[in-house]
């Protein structure tokens, strides 16, 4: 079974341009999360989807960031316009869930390899 995949693995763009990161969760996982680590700082939560709905987007830094998950499958995270401080690595993760909104016993959260973004 394929794991969580992210694309692109690396991206270099100029300040002011737009970049779209994609995450394909493990098939059947309703929960999808985005995290990021900007250079020299800790990993921080961005947002959480349950299927196509945004469960929690409290970590989104500003309105230059837009996340979508149409159809409840893959997700995209768009940064427009990109700024220098957006450089970092963006992680996606997914997990299964039971109908009560709790993680199924024995299941865990699976992480992608990350998308490294460099804004110059």
């Amino acid at each position: 079974e394929a794991g969580v995949t992210q694309f692109p693995s690396h991206s270099v763009i100029e300040k002011g341009q737009t970049v779209t990161l994609r995450c394909d969760p493990i098939s059947g996982h309703d929960n999808l999360y985005w995290y990021r680590r900007v250079m020299g700082k800790e990993i921080k939560f961005l947002l959480h989807f349950v299927k196509e709905s945004k469960q929690d987007e409290s970590g989104m830094p500003n309105n230059r960031f837009l996340a979508e998950r149409t159809g409840g499958t893959y997700s995209t995270l768009k940064v427009q316009p990109a700024e220098l401080e957006d450089s970092g690595v963006y992680f996606c993760a997914s997990s299964q869930d039971d109908v009560w909104g709790r993680l199924l016993s024995g299941n865990t959260i699976y992480f992608g390899e990350g998308s490294w973004l460099t804004v110059v």
Binding site: R37, I43, V89, F91, G101, R102, T108, F111, W116
Partner: protein, 107 residues
């Protein structure tokens, strides 16, 4: 890439007991974080600790970077401590997560 190994994979405790979770890594790192996964799957940052020792209430963590390991201590465990604890390590932007330790605290 950096290899991360967490132990034990599963841990069951009685309420009030103490525990130590371990994270070993294969290369020098300049970032290490401990997370607790809440029931909704979100990762709650516990410590950002690339080196040294930190304490926050009943939790404390120590990273010995030269020996490539970190320890998370939970004292007087409570049922609300149950969940999965992840260690994430990295160098610059090459970050890797461990497989986690699943902690169950029984009343």
């Amino acid at each position: 890439g950096i290899q991360v190994e967490q132990s034990p994979p599963d841990l069951i405790l009685q309420e009030g007991a103490n525990s130590t979770l371990r994270c070993n890594f294969s290369d020098s790192v300049n970032n290490l974080q401990w997370f607790h996964q809440n029931p909704w799957g979100q990762l709650i940052n516990l410590f950002y600790i690339p080196s040294g020792t930190k304490q926050n209430g009943r939790l404390s963590a120590t990273t010995v970077a030269t020996e490539r390991y970190s320890l998370l201590y939970i004292s007087s465990s409570q049922t609300t401590d149950s969940g999965v604890y992840f260690c994430a390590v990295g160098k610059d932007n090459d970050m890797r997560f461990g497989a986690g330790t699943r902690l169950t605290v029984k009343p």
